[in-house]
Symmetry: C3
Subunit: 164 residues, 3 copies
């Protein structure tokens, strides 16, 4: 098994700082024996570029993809900050991705692929390629173009073994 944190370095990816939650919620909520629900993660800045507005209107598809990449990177940063070690992740179960979209923009999957590909690059396809839904909406908080919510499964920990 590849070391994910080492692999991040090889990919020359450095994780952004995790901002304080923008509301009354927990960024990453562990539950059950091995699950984590990640709160909706947004994006609006990548390397100094800021994205606001809707795909197909103020935001081009290429910029929406850059925003989706950034949202995914932010999500990994939240995982790292809350789980301590990215190697604890057994699989990304599911991604629910919202794309603020003009009424005539139909390419939400192509936009979110930029996020999904980053997860596959970092974790490998077996861990990183979860179920996914791609949804268009008229507006997102702070006028960001992308928000993604994720369900993650962790590797079995000692707790289960001690129970049995």
């Amino acid at each position: 098994m590849q070391d994910i944190e080492q692999h991040l370095k090889e990919l020359n990816i450095s994780l952004p700082e995790v901002p304080a939650p923008g509301g009354v919620y927990t960024p990453a909520r562990e539950f059950g024996e091995n699950f984590v629900y990640m709160s909706g993660v947004g994006c609006n800045t990548l390397n100094g570029e800021t994205f606001t507005g809707r795909a197909g209107a103020e935001v081009s598809i290429a910029d929406a993809q850059r925003a989706a990449y950034q949202a995914a990177l932010n999500a990994v940063a939240v995982m790292k900050a809350n789980l301590g070690d990215l190697n604890r992740i057994k699989r990304i179960v599911k991604i629910l991705g919202f794309v603020a979209s003009a009424d005539t923009f139909y390419e939400q999957p192509q936009v979110l692929n930029a996020a999904s590909k980053l997860f596959c690059d970092i974790f490998g396809e077996e861990i990183g390629k979860g179920a996914r839904s791609a949804i268009g909406v008229n507006v997102l908080p702070g006028n960001i173009p992308i928000e993604i919510e994720m369900l993650i499964e962790l590797k079995e920990n000692d707790r289960r073994i001690s129970v049995n």
Copy 2:
């Protein structure tokens, strides 16, 4: 551990009646060993006030917050009706909140905070402060301004013990 039902009384909160489901679904679906998925819960009346329309258009942010508070209260009433005892709840895992929004309304998290704060008031932060996503949409069923869906974890019950 505080008794949640007693605490509700101390807060002077009385739960509204639970309406019949507005479609072919189960309001609270128990699954796995200890989980409950709550169907989307809406809101349109609080103390005789009725809210319809979109935040940032027909509905002010203050009224959208009152609607979010009411949706949260309705959700707790559905929990009580289906679980029997609110003390069975181990944690609110996750809230997915939709706010019917004008295209230029960006304050969905501030609106949903009114729901999240009620959960924290009733259950305490440790139980009540779950992961959350705040999403704007152009329209919700019946023209309500708010709909929230929730995943809940219950305390371990006897079933698991008997299995092992």
Copy 3:
């Protein structure tokens, strides 16, 4: 217990072919001990009829219901293709249904009932009637009117027994 695959034949329902995923994702992701998350499933063709656009605008409520029925049928086809045997399903836990909607269309639950009823017809109410949220959005991928995402629980398998 009724045999679901036999029951499908009695209902004279034949499952459509499963298309290749329209993006970087896994159509049905097994996780935990007994869970499956189904990626968002769309619809646009039923018996040669094609549905595009928004309910309440280009798409009538009756056509939106036909599209919802078709999305549900597609979902069952994805289950069959990925699980092998529909009898493995213990319960549909939860459906998150999105209806591309004109701003003045409020009947999302009535539209999604067509999907929920099909699940109840095929699996019976006990298995098929999950929790559900019905959400309106301004646009969906490829301009489809309906997208549904599902969480499914499988019957306990041998894995758990061997662990204990």
